[in-house]
């Protein structure tokens, strides 16, 4: 059979490479999804010894001393806060860059530097900062309110040092997306709104926001998923209570049963659910507009 359309030279080798690459990307993940349904007798590798939800039940009971449920809820809460702040702060800063912003270039370089800075350095720095803060506060309490010293432990935590460390990772992505959005944004819509007598707030609320809304949903997805899986920047900055990915990383050396695959499956399902929800929102948005 003669080909209906002649492909450019190099198409088939590259198509083969692409297929192999996609298999390489998704194949291993698929393997642990399948293995997380391993029977109670089964091990870390194939073959499957029956199929069961045994390892998910085990996961529900908790792994050793680690309360997976609590870590799950902590990560979910932190992810939600990071998502909200990433959207709000990136949007505000994106709006600022549309105006004259003296010194904006310097700020931009700081943001880009944060993106490519080895995460362990940022994490060490944030951890160090809060430790020094603790020392300072303890000295202060000792001098002025010794009765409070007993109750004070640390300023480090999920929503202080942890949140800050993660924002240095999610905000650069958010800001870069906002730049891309506003570069393509036609200011004629806002001018029309202004000519028709809209106040700056009305023009923002009723013209700009609906137009860039889908991109903000995208920024939100970046914020949540990046926080949900974040390890490197959080590692030295979380304090006493760990997030789910940090627990997972610790478990890789100690756990030798498929329960770790079950945890992997649950975590990935959340990531995919967020991506799916993003797509669904975008699709509904598109439909409502038509």
């Amino acid at each position: 059979m003669a080909p209906t359309r002649k492909r450019a030279p190099g198409f088939w080798p590259l198509a083969l490479l692409f297929t192999a690459f996609v298999l390489f990307l998704y194949g291993p993940m698929l393997a642990i999804f399948v293995l997380s349904f391993q029977g109670p007798e089964g091990g870390l590798t194939f073959p499957m010894r029956g199929a069961s939800l045994h390892w998910f039940a085990k996961l529900w009971e908790g792994i050793g001393v680690i309360d997976i449920g609590a870590a799950f809820r902590r990560s979910l809460a932190l992810g939600a806060v990071v998502m909200g702040l990433t959207v709000a702060l990136a949007l505000l800063a994106g709006l600022a860059y549309r105006k004259r912003l003296p010194g904006g270039t310097a700020l931009f370089y700081v943001v880009v530097a944060s993106l490519i800075m080895p995460s362990i350095i940022v994490s060490l720095g944030v951890g160090l900062m809060f430790r020094l803060l603790d020392t300072g506060l303890k000295a202060l309490l000792e001098a002025h309110a010794p009765e409070l010293l007993e109750a004070f432990t640390t300023t480090m935590g999920l929503f202080t040092s942890g949140l800050g460390a993660q924002l240095t990772w999610t905000l650069p992505f958010g800001l870069l997306i906002m730049f891309a959005v506003f570069n393509r944004f036609n200011p004629a819509y806002e001018e029309a709104a202004r000519d028709l007598g809209a106040s700056p707030w009305q023009s923002f609320r009723h013209v700009l926001l609906p137009l860039i809304g889908p991109s903000l949903v995208g920024v939100g997805m970046f914020g949540f998923t990046l926080s949900w899986d974040e390890i490197a920047r959080s590692s030295q900055a979380m304090g006493d209570l760990n997030t789910l990915p940090l627990e997972l990383q610790g478990l890789t050396t100690t756990v030798t049963t498929p329960v770790i695959y079950a945890l992997g499956t649950v975590t990935t399902v959340v990531s995919f659910a967020v991506m799916g929800a993003t797509l669904a929102i975008l699709w509904l948005w598109q439909r409502r507009r038509q």
Binding site: A113, I120, I121
Partner: protein
Amino acid sequence: MSNSRTSAAFAWLQAAPLTAVFALFFVLPLALVVMVSFWQASEYELLPAFTAQNYLDVFTGCPVTADGDLCVTAKTYLSTLKFGVLTWLITALLGFAIAYFLAFHVQGTLMQTVLFIVCTVPFWTSNVIRMISWVPLLGRNGLVNQLLVGSGLVAEPVEWLLFSDFSVVLAFVHLYTMFMIVPIFNSMMRIDRSLIEAARDNGATPWQTVLHVVLPLCRTGLIIGSIFVLALVMGDFVTVGVMGGQQIASVGKVIQVQTSYLQFPMAAANAVILLAVVLLMIVALMRLVNLRKEL
């Protein structure tokens, strides 16, 4: 003009929350790392000082110890650098090929977008899970070894597939090729298609077109991707830890271990050195490519 001044003030008001986050959680911590790298520490507290002792300790016995071995720091950096260069080479080649396929061979914007998203979705899932997902494939009793032994190619299961240099590089490529594909693809989509036609009309072979037209025009994307990959690998401690079975050294891992033992001044000194090395690499990378363009 007061009008433009109020406008600038309002703009800064809008940028203030983001600026505050980076000042407080990025610039200040980095300054503290530099400061503490000159401090001393007892077993349970940090002692303000101004000493280069931490840096001297990092380079104890460098470049060569009395036994004729390389010092620990040099070994660690060489090992990390080896991962960096290998990963960079493979991701650059692979990323370029994949991006080229997407940009020039796939027809139609919808198909392009779908395939592009297929390549980027794993980026939004957990790195650690993507690492441990190699265990059932590469382990001693893993799928690859089952196949190799089953087919009679090897008598004993191959040991170096997992928790080895090989598995570390494999995981890096698995995780970070995306960081090459996206910027290179972005550069390729901006290339004026008539340039490709012009090259063909002038008798260039497809290979020549790629080498002399597409590649130079992808310079920016390639540099951005390279910076990402090198910075990620040089500072890594998670991948080397998990995929190396916690047995392989890397600069990031040294910093992480020292931090967990609360040796902050030492960890800070190592962080400053790592930062200097990464910055040098980025500068060199940009010079190298600029220079070649000028020749």
